[in-house]
Symmetry: none
Subunit: 402 residues, 2 copies
């Protein structure tokens, strides 16, 4: 694991590292011989940074593997997702900004429709709208159980997340979703004796929730899946000696950042400008800034090539504010590719730019794009190398061996 090699070499200094992630940055041409989104975008600032710094192509997980957002970010932070697994419940909770502390148990929930015999008629409650399910989530949040704290938050439509907080809780509990209709939801069953008490608490909660929902015509029951607890990752501070901040509009990425111990920065607005202003405001408080730009991915998933181009251009226009802070190391990349052509996350390698005026070895590339990155000085590499490269270029790693 990277930490085994990196952590013992850490040294401290006053350097500032910025990791700017444009979600789903990597793209594809939409016509034969055409440009990708990043190549098509007019990006004078990014191109200047590419010319002064070095670029390359990173593989998020392994060749051919398309990452979800969780693993794609974990790997940028240096946590190999083939080793460090985040439970589905924790990821869903983190995704809506629900705090999962050490020893807490999170689960994903579905509202379902039951028939008069208590058998599931619809596993997704007819894909009930977000507006319709919001008051149901509110009612679930009124349920109390002795000795534990409970928090429920809406995800969207028929989906919600629930977190149970208390002492001696264990997540080894089977899903209550039977994955079929015509049968009742399963009880929460412990897979190990240690989890029996937790399963019993969830069953009590489910019983109260079922009473609360009973009269609702569309969603009169629920199922829970992916019981899991805080994955207990080594914190960013412990792994890298960095006091890290997360600047993100979307809860999902805040949740992931929190799992590695980053501090969440609150700010107004949702444009790149707003995010960079937030960085400026907290510049003295941290030495590592993870900035997340969501809309590159959203436009990619919408199949909106030109929209994605515009988001990239808006980031480029806002960049001078960030550069004015004079970071020692600035990495600009994506967590994965989301080509508008394919409207989904893909496995294609991701453009990567490393700018560090005092320490970088420049290559001969002068534009930031997929084709130029294929010829860049960093070459093709695993995204897991991101943090070691950032720390080295910030002068934060001692020599290995004498």
């Amino acid at each position: 694991m990277p930490f085994d090699h990196i952590t013992p070499l850490l040294k401290s200094n006053n350097s500032k590292i910025v990791l700017l992630v444009m979600d789903g940055l990597g793209g594809l041409p939409i016509e034969a011989g055409g440009s990708t989104e990043l190549e098509a975008a007019k990006t004078p600032n990014l191109d200047r940074l590419a010319a002064e710094g070095m670029i390359g192509l990173s593989t998020p997980i392994l060749a051919g593997i398309t990452p979800g957002s969780g693993p794609a970010h974990m790997v940028l932070f240096g946590y190999d997702p083939l080793h460090y697994e985040i439970g589905r419940g924790v990821l869903e909770a983190a995704g809506v900004g629900l705090h999962v502390g050490r020893g807490d148990i999170a689960a994903r929930g579905n509202f379902v429709l039951l028939n008069e015999k208590g058998e599931i008629r619809d596993r997704r409650a007819g894909r009930i709208s977000t507006e319709e399910s919001a008051p149901l989530v509110e009612r679930l949040n009124t349920i109390t159980l002795p000795g534990v704290e409970l928090e429920v938050r809406q995800v969207r439509e028929y989906r919600f997340a629930v977190v149970m907080r208390g002492s001696d809780l264990h997540p080894e509990i089977d899903d209550t979703d039977p994955q079929q209709t015509g049968v009742p939801p399963l009880p929460a069953l412990a897979r190990e004796p240690a989890a029996e008490h937790t399963a019993e608490l969830f069953n009590q909660w489910i019983a109260k929730a079922s009473q609360t929902l009973a009269q609702n015509p569309k969603a009169n029951g629920l199922t829970l899946r992916g019981f899991s607890s805080d994955p207990n990752f080594p914190s960013f501070n412990k792994a890298y000696g960095l006091n890290a901040a997360c600047i993100s509009v979307y809860p999902m990425y805040k949740g992931i950042a929190k799992l590695v111990g980053m501090e969440l920065v609150d700010f107004e607005g949702d444009a790149p400008d707003d995010e960079f202003t937030a960085v400026k405001k907290h510049w003295e408080d941290h030495d590592f800034f993870f900035i997340h730009i969501k809309k590159t991915d959203s436009k990619g998933e919408d199949g909106d090539f030109h929209g994605k181009v515009e988001v990239i251009e808006s980031v480029d226009r806002a960049l001078p504010a960030l550069l004015g802070l004079e970071p020692d190391v600035l990495i600009i990349t994506g967590d994965h590719s989301t080509p508008a052509l394919l409207r989904t996350h893909t496995w294609h390698p991701v453009p990567f730019l490393l700018w560090a005026p005092a320490t970088v070895r420049p290559d001969d590339q002068t534009q930031f794009g997929e084709r130029s990155c294929a010829h860049g000085g960093i070459g093709h590499f695993r995204a897991l190398d991101t943090m070691p490269l950032a720390l080295a270029h910030a002068g934060r790693l001692e020599k290995f061996g004498a």
Copy 2:
């Protein structure tokens, strides 16, 4: 291992994948500043595919390691030869098309010349010619033993392979070749109690064979090496969910394909045209086609630079028939390099071309050759990534994590 990460992500669709292996494709210039065989060949079709797709250089095993045909193909199929070992006996048997089923025991055999005291005078029977040894193999094939089935096949000159089929056979048996002259062949000795019965059967067979050969003036004895059984690899179907076909003229490659559960396609002729016609005939029956072209390697081993160029050009001319089938993913590569200059397999990285009209990220290369592949969009990579890349570009892999 790749399967650990790939197999859980598999999804099914109607895509067709073609893996066209030109054996020993990688080459070297024969004069300073000159072209390699692939660069010298006129290949308008390959160049068009390179322009539309992406190219790179693959390392079969590890830097500097020259692979044999067995491991070089296994790695293309995604079976890491550093982990999945094929016994030498099985590889020799597979190489001459001798079937080694689950529980069968294969060994490599040498004809030897013994003196009047039964000591080995020549460990290779004076490199007896293939013509001279053929009738000896025929005689060995008349030997029977109760309870087991035996099959012997000539390899060439003094070499043959033998397979024993029966129940409860075990391969943990030491070589009978003492690796020196002036001593008699060793008896087959079991390394484990479970293999004692099998060793005894081989000793009975050796005794009968020695009687049969006793009067032959050049080859009056034999030694056996590399006792091994079916390596029990996960099948291609289990590993990848693919119903794979092997189109090969040479028994060796059929044997390897069979070890991973590919179906062997029978066809007439031995030209690239004939192989592609066979693919066309069976296009509806399979979703993965491994096509093996032998003569690139043969010409390389002959030191025949221009002959190798001509074979490459003949493949290029035949390609339109294959393209007419409209595969979703077409990979064209070699299993290793066999530069005519060096007349042998080498460790040099192998030109690799991936064409997939719906999903590939094109690079800026327009020719298929070693120098252009060094600048290609795939970069330098391990050949073990071949199958994950093929599956991803065919849309056959789900996202990893949420």
